[in-house]
Amino acid sequence: MAEGALLSIEHLTTVFDTSKGSVAAVDDISFEIRSGETLGVVGESGSGKSVTALSIMRLVQPPGRIAAGRIMFKDRDLLTLDERAMQRVRGAEIGLIFQEPMTALNPVFRVGDQIAETLLVHGRATRREARANAIELLRAVRITNPESRIDDYPHQLSGGMRQRVLIAMAIACQPALVIADEPTTALDVTIQAEILDLLRDMKAALGLSLLLITHDLGVIAETADRVAVMYAGRIVETGPVREIFRSPAHPYTRGLLASMPGGRPGQRLRAIEGSVPMLGDLPPGCAFNPRCPDRFEPCTTAPPPDYPAGVAHSARCYLHAAR
């Protein structure tokens, strides 16, 4: 595990067993998150970004299973922990924020009790302290009138406020790492902006690391320090956020950036042809090759290894093989 890394994923493979054999939703990925940094993971449906998050938390449900790899968190391999030890990690050392705050909250319990529960389960507060702490947490995530909101049920809160409650729960035990899986996708754009600001401020105030998973390159540009781009279960490019946006190395990343609306209004957009492949039906070689404008002979033979593409910047693409 590299110096300064809080979390280090090594050759993680998570498969889903189907009647037609097992399919790798996450295929031999490696990355790390350093203390205090935000790593943005960007990908489309089926890219494996959410399965990566679930794998780290060991929440992959059958028929899915982690087939190989190591998940080093603070010098421990999470994959070797027993379930009890893992429960102590979840919520206490690694916080998790899901996309849909309505389903992540229990509709029949008051939000204050749900926050308090997190503290009680991990022995971070007595029952008496927990309520006061929950109010402070709601205040920290900028919910006005926390003293009365604490007794609300989830349905009494707006989508943005529910997401704030989830953030409060995720940071309640002062975890070292928070994983946020599409935390703003279900929200309106003005609320999204508030939540992203809040996440940034929380991260700075608490000195935590953030793994932010999204499909939105705009959200990545505004939030991440480093970026991992996923496609069909693999990380195809990693690099500092500026490098990714200024000099993207993988044709998929280039295509994504080029296809965004911009330029002269009314002009045709530069679309990526084709569609995202089904995981059980990946093309041979590089999974992106049928859609790639730069495809050449080696691309269809074997999946490309990771090649350096700049400072702390690499891409799984044969275009960079000569460097």
Binding site: D188, A193, H215, P261, V276
Partner: protein, 292 residues
């Protein structure tokens, strides 16, 4: 003469009184007026609950407006009989957001596209089949896939099927309600290009309902911003994006995440007290109106 003219459109939704609560009436659309010229793409933007989707549905009377008028080619749509409305819908079509739930999973793609022709009793069987094949080509679907079912298509292809169906009756006006927001990012641009191509080729007029402001800026000639059931600002898209006048428009535009890590971020937070809810629209510059 504009193709579509909406004036003082109002839609109330009522919630009946319950055991412990009084009945309430909510104006989802509250005195909305705009017009759409032939051949243009008119953008209607706003956040959830702003009334943009309800407005679109009122135009086709998929939701019956409470009051106001809607004219199409100068004719009063809200005064149409059911029979006349059915005819009018040949000319006015809607494409929905979710290509997963808006297509009948038990029908083959060819039947989905052919159905409007059968409902409107257009053409003999052979003619309809030819038309379906033609529509498949028009939206860029492979004619070899005519007999497939919706689940055998990707999201982008399903949205193409939805478009082919909407185009079957040769409409001149289409309401596009978040047509690409359920699609993968890498596929959105393909469908946007297709929409622009179809518009040029078939001289279509679009009402484009969306929350993605980057996309609206790119494809709409004029844009109206809805907030709490009202249009608070409307104008040529370039003018509106360059110099937003209403506090809500300013907050909305400043909230768009920019795909550039070095872009300066100047978030404008909406101060509710800065919104004069009673202000009517007034013309700021040519064709640019704001409720300030």
């Amino acid at each position: 003469m504009p193709l579509v003219e909406v004036s003082h459109l109002v839609k109330h939704f009522t919630r009946d009184a319950g055991l412990f609560r009084a009945g309430t009436r909510v104006a989802a659309v509250n005195d909305v007026s705009f017009s759409i010229d032939e051949g243009e793409t008119f953008g209607l933007v706003g956040e959830s609950g702003s009334g943009k989707t309800t407005t679109g549905r009122c135009l086709l009377r998929l939701v019956e407006p409470s009051s106001g008028t809607v004219t199409f080619r100068g004719e009063d749509v809200l005064g149409f009989s059911n029979k006349r409305m059915r005819e009018a819908r040949r000319d006015m079509q809607i494409v929905f957001q979710d290509p997963y739930s808006s297509l009948n999973p038990r029908m083959r793609a060819r039947d989905i596209v052919e159905e409007p022709l059968i409902i409107h009793k257009l053409g003999a069987r052979a003619e309809r089949e030819a038309r379906v094949a033609e529509l498949f080509g028009l939206v860029g679907l492979n004619p070899a896939h005519l007999d497939r079912y919706p689940h055998q298509f990707s999201g982008g292809q399903r949205q193409r099927i939805g478009l082919a169906r909407a185009l079957a009756l040769n409409p001149s006006f289409m309401i596009l309600d978040e047509p690409v927001s359920a699609l993968d990012v890498s596929v959105q641009a393909q469908v946007v290009n297709l929409l622009m191509d179809l518009q040029a080729q078939l001289h279509l007029t679009y009402l484009f309902i969306a929350h993605d402001l980057r996309l609206v800026e790119h494809i709409c000639s004029r844009t109206a911003v809805m907030f709490l059931g009202k249009i608070v600002e409307m104008g040529p898209t370039a003018a509106l994006f360059a110099a937003p006048q209403h506090p809500y428009t300013r907050a909305l535009l400043s909230a768009i995440p920019v795909a550039d890590p070095d872009a300066p971020r100047q978030r404008v937070v909406l101060d509710p007290t800065s919104v004069n809810r009673d202000a009517g629209l007034r013309e700021i510059s040519a064709g640019h109106w704001a409720a300030v």
